[in-house]
Symmetry: C2
């Protein structure tokens, strides 16, 4: 993967400049891996994210707005995202009883089953990070959090 190594080689103006590129590049890299992992399930990362948020509700419905607020990437298109999930019969969409502007979205058993399947593959895949110690991972998470502050 050409650039992955080149990143180490390239001489950057500063450690900051390298970190910026490195964070973006590594983010894209892992996002790509995740996309590939989800492809066999005909699931995009955003759709997967929404399904997991809905699962987190333990059966309670959520409005589209509530979903948007929980999503990792601010998407203006949650409506159409939910469309796709409805089409595939993974979630149910229905008018919200107490506010007819709003729409309740609810994960279906089929959606839950799908997530369980993905979880299994995901758990397998995560083993790819066995070369990192727990300490490494904690430190990485700390530094990324610091980076954003």
């Amino acid at each position: 993967m050409g650039i992955a190594n080149e990143l180490q080689q390239t001489n950057f103006a500063s450690e900051e400049a390298k970190a910026i590129v490195n964070v973006i590049f590594t983010g894209n890299w892992i996002a790509y891996q995740q996309q590939e992992l989800l492809k066999p399930f005909d699931l995009s990362m955003q759709q997967y994210n929404v399904l997991r948020i809905l699962r987190g509700q333990n059966g309670k419905p959520m409005t589209v707005l509530a979903i948007i607020e929980r999503m990792l990437d601010r998407t203006s298109n949650a409506s159409r995202l939910v469309d796709k999930l409805v089409e595939k019969k993974w979630v149910l969409r229905r008018e919200c009883p107490n506010d007819r502007r709003a729409v309740d979205v609810l994960i279906l058993p089929e959606g839950l089953a799908l997530l369980q399947q993905v979880d299994e593959i995901q758990n397998q895949w995560v083993k790819r990070f066995e070369h990192m110690t727990q300490e490494d991972l904690i430190k990485l998470n700390e530094l990324l959090d610091l980076f954003r502050n």
Copy 2:
């Protein structure tokens, strides 16, 4: 920014799982910052990346294929990317003399001037990371490299 903090709060299945989400999220976050920074220059991140690659050539032209190989994000659309740069008169495109299939792309003085302007803003902006020590940044870069291996 809701999620940024929620990331710290949310309880993940594992440190690995958190790192995956954290890397993607932080990558998107910083990419967004960069996009905003480039917006006043009517420059997308990919276009900026191409211009910088061309600047690195110190006046020598590059074929589209050579550009693709150096780009951070594998884009299948380098042709159209270069189109935009040509439109804006930042680069020149001409037939490659020794291989008429190929196309030489060359950064123009206007393109170099633009980059210099962006550099200045960029240098200002990077100060946002002053809260991180040099050691922090080096460690972050190391851990990201490790993460990809």
